[in-house]
């Protein structure tokens, strides 16, 4: 493959496509079937392409991959419904209002208020902020448009024309025309207009474009406005073909991700081609293959069809050329969490267990269950601390590994017993984690995030739905036994959970303080330097990925033990998003952050459950029921202001208070002293700290500046 040039690859692809079509026409039902399915495929593919092109435009101009692109499209479709059907505006006016006014303003506002604050943060933080935006958008849509049988009609009321022997609705023709118009329009905008050229200049070199009088901020706002508008357009076009409901519309974007990857997040023509390929593959597989009733060696293929876009996404990702190790200076990220000593980790773990024992004695049964869920969630979030927090690798599949853990627990506990089950949970998740990591880990940043998302959706659609996996409905998850002690009583199970969290948390701190942890931090700071020192990056990444998956597996088994049963709906991809969100919100490089995140997440959903009585209060009700989404989303977005997370603030505050108590008075600490940039003056030589601060502020060596180098 790599020996083939791009042209060669296209030739092979095209030949295979033509061959497949020939085969389908000749042996599988003839020309008119083929034409029908192809037209269906092209039209859905065209919608993916429109959404994906918006994604590409915002990514290339602002450097931020907008995971909320689908949510923008969903909001656009609902807003259109509001104007067109609830308020009865004529379609052209409603369309113009949404596509030319509301959506662009919304996109520009998001850029100005949220995204612009993200300069200088790590890719993890910026990813999480857009995921926060996604969660928030879902919450808001649920509040403003509570589920009800809304529908958006096809354009031209579903009328159709006859092409050859088949009927094509006007709606589908509109889709194709719009997609072509978008393609031509984008091309014209980017290459023939001043704003477009400015946008492309920002892509090439942000600081250079700034030096030449460009305004990257304005270009970014423009691109986010354009991206939001394209998202809304795709949402409005696809809503009549699907249904007007929040989650399916939002998650449809995963298909557009695949299209965008096809264009390597750069090329718009390839993005459009990718959209078409995915749309067609989806329709052919739905119509030509009888997957729903097919079984291969006891594995039902029913879940394969909805998983096809993510399978393609995964394949495209692993076919991407290996990312070259980038050099060009370590990015100074704003995050900087401290590493606790083993002593304080042990003390904190002990304190957690003591507090939990006390709490378990006085709390109501319902609250014991809630706290247990919180602790089990905290274990799952803890799995992200070494991976995301220390190693700087993004995973959107924490819940998927948790699901594998629960599965192993169920299957093994019957035979060798539940404690072995817990170990099996860790082992199975770790092995699958390592296997998935091997192809995916050549990728970094958002590519890795997308690969894990594709894996999560694949597992959710194809594996977790198998009857041998989580049973037909739900399946019983046993609780571990330790040395003959059982934990059938909810209060004792809660204590067990706190002990296990404390143990695992201490283990994670121990790992961070040891050689492997140092290596992970080094890898996060500079992969290139690590390689030039002899570090095998792939092995290190596979190692931490497996370790992380193992913890998530244990977390999943424990999580299942709280309520006693899990189903195929327990470990959805969408649930991994709040996990990552709350992890980063708590402080992703901190064990205490994982605990805080887990408890907060549980607290938010409790608030949601408990106050449904208030639902009668017109607006507050839906707000409260969606609190579990809106709150993490909101806090996630606020992260652009404080990338270290909440727990970091708490730790700093506690540490400061502790010192204050010990020393009897507060002494200004070095890192809380005055900003060296403020104290720097020309009247005396700079101190080393001031010199460092000035260097950093300039982002260049003073000598290099003196040479006037480019």
């Amino acid at each position: 493959m790599s020996r083939l040039g791009d042209t060669g690859r296209w030739g092979v692809g095209l030949a295979l496509g033509v061959g497949l079509c020939g085969y389908l026409i000749a042996f599988q039902g003839g020309f008119s079937d083929w034409l029908t399915f192809t037209i269906l495929g092209i039209t859905t593919g065209a919608i993916y392409a429109i959404a994906a092109s918006g994604l590409v435009v915002t990514y290339t101009t602002s450097g931020i991959f907008n995971f909320a692109q689908g949510a923008f499209g969903m909001l656009g479709a609902f807003a259109y419904w509001q104007l067109r059907y609830d308020w009865g505006w004529p379609a052209p006016i409603a369309l113009a209002a949404i596509l030319l006014v509301v959506a662009p303003l919304f996109g520009a506002l998001v850029e100005r208020v949220i995204m612009r604050g993200l300069e200088g943060v790590s890719e993890i933080t910026s990813t999480v902020v857009t995921i926060g935006l996604l969660a928030m958008a879902i919450g808001i849509a649920n509040i403003v448009w509570p589920p009800a049988g809304r529908r958006v009609d096809q354009f031209f009321a579903g009328e159709s024309v006859t092409v050859g022997a088949i009927n094509v609705t006007w709606h589908r023709i509109v889709i194709v025309v719009v997609a072509v118009a978008v393609a031509v329009g984008l091309r014209f905008l980017l290459y023939r207009t001043r704003s477009g050229v400015a946008m492309r200049a920002v892509v090439d070199d942000r600081s250079l474009s700034q030096l030449n009088g460009g305004n990257p901020g304005r270009s970014a706002m423009l691109s986010w406005g354009l991206g939001a508008s394209l998202a809304a357009l795709s949402g409005i076009l696809i809503a009549p073909l699907l249904q007007l409901s929040v989650l399916p519309l939002t998650l449809l974007i995963v298909n557009a991700y695949a299209a965008a990857m096809f264009g390597r997040l750069k090329s718009l023509p390839l993005t459009f081609a990718g959209g078409l390929v995915i749309g067609i593959a989806e329709n052919y597989s739905a119509n030509y293959l009888d997957l729903n009733t097919t079984e291969v060696a006891g594995v039902s293929l029913a879940g394969l069809q909805p998983a096809i876009p993510v399978i393609l996404l995964f394949l495209i990702l692993i076919a991407l050329p290996s990312e070259r190790l980038r050099t060009g200076g370590v990015q100074r990220v704003r995050e900087s969490a401290r590493v606790p000593t083993m002593r304080s980790a042990l003390l904190a773990g002990g304190a957690l267990v003591v507090v939990t024992i006390a709490a378990s004695r006085v709390m109501s049964t319902a609250n014991v269950t809630r706290l247990s869920l919180g602790l089990a969630t905290a274990v799952i979030i803890l799995s992200l601390v070494p991976l995301v927090g220390y190693g700087g690798q993004i995973s959107l599949a924490a819940m998927t590994f948790a699901g594998l853990g629960a599965f192993a627990m169920v299957k093994v506990a019957d035979g060798p017993g539940p404690l072995v089950g817990l170990l099996a949970a860790a082992a199975l998740a770790a092995v699958v984690g390592a296997v998935i990591a091997l192809p995916a880990l050549r990728l970094a940043g958002i590519y890795l995030a997308l690969a894990t998302a594709a894996f999560a959706v694949f597992m959710e659609k194809f594996i977790f739905t198998q009857s041998w996996f989580f049973g037909a409905g739900s399946i019983q998850v046993p609780r571990p036994e330790v040395l003959g002690l059982t934990f059938d009583d909810d209060r004792s199970y809660l204590v067990l959970l706190s002990v296990l969290f404390a143990l695992l948390g201490t283990g994670v701190v121990w790992l961070r303080r040891g050689p492997f942890g140092r290596r992970l931090s080094a890898m996060k700071d500079s992969p290139a330097a690590c390689a030039t020192l002899g570090l095998d990056l792939t092995r290190t990444k596979v190692g931490v990925f497996a370790f992380s998956a193992g913890i998530a597996g244990i977390g999943g088994a424990l999580f299942g033990g709280v309520s006693g049963s899990v189903s195929s709906e327990t470990f959805l991809f969408a649930q991994s998003l709040p996990i990552l969100l709350m992890g980063v919100v708590g402080g992703i490089a901190l064990v205490s952050g994982a605990l805080l995140g887990g408890l907060l997440l549980q607290f938010f959903s409790t608030v949601g459950e408990n106050f449904t009585l208030l639902a009668s209060a017109l607006f507050v009700g839906p707000l409260i029921t969606n609190f579990a989404l809106v709150a993490p989303g909101l806090i996630g977005i606020l992260l652009s202001r404080n990338p270290d997370g909440l727990a970091a603030d708490l730790v700093t505050a506690v540490a400061r208070a502790g010192r204050w108590v010990r020393e009897g008075r507060s002494r200004p600490e070095q890192d809380t002293g005055p900003d060296p940039l403020d104290t720097a003056t020309f009247e005396r030589p700079l101190t080393p700290a001031e010199r460092a601060a000035v260097d950093r502020a300039l982002g260049l060596d003073p000598q290099e500046l003196a040479r006037g180098s480019a």
């Binding site: 931090s521 700071d525 500079s526 020192l533 095998d536």
Partner: protein
């Protein structure tokens, strides 16, 4: 035979030839200089030598073995270390941990226990003169000291060949003096050093053999004296820095 050798290495970025059939020889026990105006291809050459950049053509040999297709970390394990022009320090770790990581990575394939690692770290930090700031986080240090951290880190893997990319930028005059002594000290121990540097007096003082790159080509090679009087070199620099 030179310890590290480049034979006709070429790098093309699209239509632009960044490095054009460059030959280099780096001998053990000497500092070899690689100089040239900005954009001449010096850092790209370093990236090729360390495997961070693929070559379009040409070969890289380490102690006679062809390592052109070898992964970066495998070259490091064969004794090739480098520093970076644009800093690649582990900024969230202390100076001590920066060097310790390198020692541990090296130890993971060459053996040695914790005591041994700590002795190595202490010795290396002492040698480059960072003892006073060993406990500081690297992101609190000025650029010059960060360069020394990179040097210490590279030395910690006990290399045979060391590539230094503008190691003296950010150092003041006194620090540059000490640095020159350190370099001469290192080559006396048998290390082979290839150095890219703009501080011409420093280059002329420590290098025995200098190659000059311009527009991706080697336009001159020779002793400091030969280079200083070479007309092509003077033209390339437009008489700016060489004196």
């Amino acid at each position: 035979m030179a310890l590290l050798e480049a034979r006709g290495i070429t790098v093309r970025f699209g239509g632009h030839v960044a490095v054009d059939a460059v030959d280099l020889e780096v001998e053990a026990g000497a500092v070899t200089g690689l100089i040239g105006p900005n954009g001449a291809g010096k850092t790209t050459t370093f990236n090729v030598l360390t495997g961070l950049q693929e070559t379009t053509a040409g070969q890289v040999l380490l102690a006679g073995d062809d390592i052109t297709r070898l992964a970066t970390h495998k070259r490091a394990r064969r004794g090739l270390a480098r520093t970076f022009q644009k800093l690649e320090v582990f900024s969230s770790l202390t100076v001590w941990d920066n060097v310790l990581v390198a020692t541990e990575i090296h130890g993971s394939f060459s053996g040695g226990g914790r005591r041994h690692h700590e002795r190595t770290v202490a010795a290396v930090i002492d040698r480059v003169g960072l003892g006073a700031v060993a406990g500081e986080r690297v992101d609190s240090l000025p650029t010059g000291q960060c360069r020394l951290v990179e040097l210490a880190r590279a030395l910690a893997i006990e290399p045979r060949v060391l590539l230094l990319d503008e190691p003296a930028s950010g150092l003041d005059d006194g620090e540059t003096r000490q640095f020159a002594d350190l370099l001469l000290d290192l080559v006396r121990d048998g290390l082979a050093i290839l150095m890219v540097e703009h501080d011409v007096p420093l280059v002329m003082e420590v290098c025995e053999d200098i190659s000059v790159l311009d527009f991706g080509r080697v336009i001159a090679r020779g002793t400091p004296e030969e280079i200083q009087s070479n007309q092509d070199v003077l033209d390339a620099y437009l008489g700016s820095e060489l004196g």
